[in-house]
């Protein structure tokens, strides 16, 4: 019964991951990432992690992917790849390396004594109440640190992306340079 939900969600997750990695256009990659995040949210629901599933959809799919799409729109990307690729011969080697890595990981998770049976869990396992109880008692210090990290991230993003007049090379300044060079050449 659980496999009836696991198999389609897993297939969609892998398909979305392939779409992220192989798509020509960044918008298609962003939508494939959305598919991966939604499939993982379904898997979290299977694993008694309701609160995390909702967090995943709201924060990851609802904010981060939207941020990616905004940046894609801002950068006005037409295609993803440049015409020349100096490392082109290394691409098959990279895929082979990743395949070796995958086989190593698969061996580790399946061959060892990780034959854990599922025990019974409390009824509020994975709910907002269950996660919150642990969050505000045993994980209080990381929680406060997380809010500091969020604040620092917001300030840093605003400070980085803010335009400082005169700092960047603008169109007008290059024209001035050309005028100065032409005037210097005239002498």
């Amino acid at each position: 019964m659980e496999a009836l939900i696991f198999v389609p969600a897993a297939v969609l997750a892998v398909g979305g991951a392939l779409g992220v990695v192989l798509s020509r256009r960044p918008v298609h990659s962003a939508l494939s990432l959305l598919l991966v995040l939604a499939s993982l949210a379904v898997l979290y629901l299977l694993l008694w992690a309701q609160f995390i599933a909702v967090l995943q959809v709201v924060i990851y799919a609802g904010a981060i992917v939207v941020l990616f799409l905004f940046v894609i729109m801002l950068l006005h990307m037409q295609t993803g790849e440049p015409l020349r690729d100096p490392l082109r011969k290394q691409r098959p080697v990279m895929v082979v390396v990743a395949a070796f890595f995958l086989s190593g990981l698969t061996y580790i998770v399946t061959a060892g004594g990780v034959a854990l049976q599922r025990g019974a869990v409390a009824p509020d396992f994975g709910t907002a109440e269950g996660v919150g109880r642990a969050l505000f008692t045993r994980f209080l210090f990381p929680f406060e640190l997380a809010s500091v990290i969020l604040l620092v991230g917001i300030v840093a993003a605003v400070a980085i992306a803010k335009e400082v007049p005169g700092l960047m090379v603008h169109e007008e300044s290059t024209v001035e340079e050309a005028d100065v060079l032409a005037a210097a050449a005239d002498h």
Binding site: V21, A49, P82, L105, V109, Q117, F139
Partner: protein, 100 residues
């Protein structure tokens, strides 16, 4: 009843696909998305192990991973926008000098 190893293998597969994406693609935006893919695969591993060890701590780890991944995406994309303003490209091949 889906065994634990299925979830772990799925996490490993997504992680490897993220690695392939980071290694192969030259567009910085796609590389960012592949990094997010890797973070999500680790989240899946945490949640699966939390269920099978009947400990809520794995889900707390996912909570903090999501928070930090959000901050990382915001700051990284801000830097990407700034680099694009300076160089008019987001190709990793063409932004290879530390000198501005």
């Amino acid at each position: 009843m889906v065994p634990l190893s299925f979830y772990l293998v799925l996490g490993a597969l997504l992680f490897s696909l993220g690695i392939v994406g980071v290694l192969i693609r030259r567009n910085a935006l796609i590389v960012f998305m592949a990094i997010e893919l890797m973070l999500n695969s680790v989240n899946l591993t945490f949640v699966a192990l939390a269920r099978h060890l009947t400990s809520i701590d794995g889900q707390l780890a996912v909570f903090f991973t999501i928070v930090v991944a959000g901050v990382e995406a915001v700051v990284g994309l801000a830097m990407l926008v700034e680099i694009f303003r300076a160089r008019s490209t987001v190709s990793l091949d063409e932004v290879d000098l530390l000198r501005g």
